[in-house]
């Protein structure tokens, strides 16, 4: 009897969400997979008989498309620098905010969450000003200490870094509240015991807090990586991929192909290459985590 219950219940718990996801995410993904082997474009969308299967043609073309190759390179650049940065920043801020409970800390929780809820147009206008080469605030401040103007958004490598700074600024909020929630889950008795043993602050941080945040850190790392692999909004509103395709990301490339130029087959193929890369990275993380927990 108990066995039976245990067999039925888990499915009842997951069924509503899984059915919805199957219908509105998994099936569409399969459709997109099929499309990636076709030459689907706007004409094909209107009249399906005009669509033909072209096998791996799209995939082959992608790897000889210089812009796509560049977008892969740029995406890795974003991920490798941005992901650790955003995790470290949001964890540090969460730790600082967890320091006290007075109204000051309550207020600052809201303040640090603000970038996540600031309208994207406001973000684009203000950061556009901060980064403006001639009139921008950053270059004005630098000129005070006699540093030459920096072309924040005009030089491919610097532009990538500028976009990373912007994305980190924007991405702190959500990870911060997740860390904050996780910090509450650490029983206070642990800290008290450590203090009685005379452990230093750093020892507490590295031997109690961080290990116990493992589940949250894993979540934040996996989702942040997935999010940054699909880096899109920042280059979309700030640079549109320029200068000289220096900031174009894979997701932006897919958007341009699929929506600006209506090459749906080509865009779908691009997104499955991205999909494959994300899966590899994610599976790797799950494997590493499993090893960790087994130890």
């Amino acid at each position: 009897m108990k066995q039976l219950l245990n067999n039925r219940h888990p499915y009842m718990f997951i069924a509503p969400a899984v059915i919805l996801l199957t219908l509105f995410s998994l099936i569409p993904i399969l459709v997109a997979l099929v499309i990636s082997f076709t030459d689907m474009n706007l004409k094909g969308l209107a009249d399906w008989s005009a669509v033909s299967f072209i096998g791996l043609e799209n995939y082959k073309d992608l790897f000889s498309d210089a812009t796509f190759i560049k977008s892969i390179f740029n995406t890795f650049f974003y991920v490798i620098i941005g992901v650790p940065l955003v995790i470290i920043c949001s964890l540090s801020i969460a730790l600082l905010l967890n320091y006290g409970t007075s109204w000051i800390f309550n207020t600052f929780r809201a303040v640090y969450y603000m970038p996540s809820i600031t309208n994207i147009i406001a973000v684009a206008v203000i950061w556009g000003y901060l980064y403006n080469t001639e009139y921008g605030l950053f270059n004005y401040l630098l000129s005070l200490i006699s540093v030459d103007n920096i072309p924040w958004l005009q030089e491919p490598t610097i532009a990538k870094i500028s976009l990373i700074i912007l994305a980190v600024w924007k991405g702190i909020g959500i990870n911060m509240i997740i860390f904050l929630a996780a910090l509450q889950g650490i029983p206070k008795s642990y800290y008290e015991a450590a203090e009685m043993d005379g452990a230093s602050r750093l020892q507490v941080l590295f031997h109690i807090t961080l290990p116990l945040l493992r589940y949250a850190t894993f979540f934040v790392t996996v989702t942040t990586l997935i999010g940054w692999m699909q880096f899109f909004e920042e280059p979309f509103v700030m640079t549109d991929g320029g200068p000289l395709d220096g900031t174009i990301s894979i997701a932006l490339f897919i958007y341009q192909e699929g929506f600006q130029y209506s090459e749906f087959g080509y865009a779908a193929a691009g997104s499955f290459i991205l999909f494959a890369m994300i899966i590899i990275v994610t599976v790797f993380q799950f494997k590493v985590q499993k090893k960790d927990t087994e130890l």
Partner: protein, 276 residues
């Protein structure tokens, strides 16, 4: 906090100083957004930007409320927000299922759930539309709500947090004869309050700002949301920045209210000992 009392004054001052310095940096665009909503159009893009408007005006807000079909958009937005909380419940249940039960295919199904996060949304937009169309749900509220109900991010987050709840707790309750749903609603939900609070904030924001599906699915403006209504104010060439900032500032107020309401629970914490 018991430990806080032992910390020295200068240290606390340093923490507060760091927080303030960072906080100012972080909130400038937000402040600019609010202040620009009170500026005339020609001042918005002035270089250097001003935080305090030179010629404050409430013209933008008047225009905002008179040029939109406000009541209808608000009603639709609220309906979507309410249903997105139903979605939150589904996600929590699924997260719990993946975290606390061992069943056949658990890993595989969970990876499939995660896989839905890994593809850019634009790619699946047209297939989703065609599915909704086949179900006869275009131009209906149901068609707008359904695609956004289940969210892999949220299921994953619930799973991670619920995995930290000790199994003994559940076993004890089962021995006492509690049903599985009773355990979920009466035992798990209170323990997982902080994470519900986090999800509550995220869900509210997503529902409140919902934009793409209302626009794509609706063949009638009576199904538009506030975000769609606001984007109608944008011209092909002229951008009406001040008006848009007024719209953005208006949209952010309920988010701040919800945030301050839920954030209490994020930091309230729970003590394992208190539950038994």
């Amino acid at each position: 906090m018991a430990t806080a009392t032992k910390r020295s004054k200068p240290e606390k001052a340093l923490v507060i100083f760091l927080l303030i310095a960072g906080g100012v940096l972080v909130s400038i665009p937000f402040l600019w957004m609010i202040s620009s909503s009170f500026k005339p159009e020609n001042e918005v893009l002035a270089i250097p930007p001003t935080i305090i408007p030179d010629n404050p005006t409430i013209e933008n807000y008047i225009k905002l409320f008179t040029s939109m079909n406000f009541a209808v958009y608000l009603r639709n937005t609220i309906i979507i927000v309410l249903f997105s909380f139903l979605g939150l419940l589904f996600n929590a249940m699924a997260g719990y299922g993946f975290a606390k039960y061992h069943f056949k295919g658990r890993e595989k199904i969970f990876y499939l759930v995660l896989a839905t996060m890994m593809i850019p949304g634009q790619v699946t937009m047209i297939p989703v539309y065609l599915i909704l169309n086949a179900m006869g749900l275009t131009n209906t509220m149901a068609g707008i709500i359904l695609p956004g109900l289940a969210v892999a991010f949220s299921i994953f987050l619930f799973r991670q947090f619920m995995a930290t709840i000790p199994d003994d707790l559940l076993e004890a309750a089962r021995l006492d004869g509690a049903g599985e749903f009773y355990i979920f609603f009466r035992l798990i939900t209170p323990i997982a309050k902080p994470i519900f609070a986090v999800q509550g904030i995220l869900t509210f924001i997503a529902g409140w700002n919902s934009f793409l599906w209302p626009l794509i699915i609706a063949n009638d403006e009576s199904l538009y949301t506030l975000s769609v209504g606001l984007s109608l104010l944008q011209g092909q060439y002229a951008n009406n920045f001040a008006l848009q900032m007024a719209g953005a500032a208006f949209m952010v107020i309920p988010i701040i209210i919800i945030f301050s309401f839920f954030q209490k629970y994020i930091v309230e914490g729970f003590t394992m000992s208190g539950i038994k």
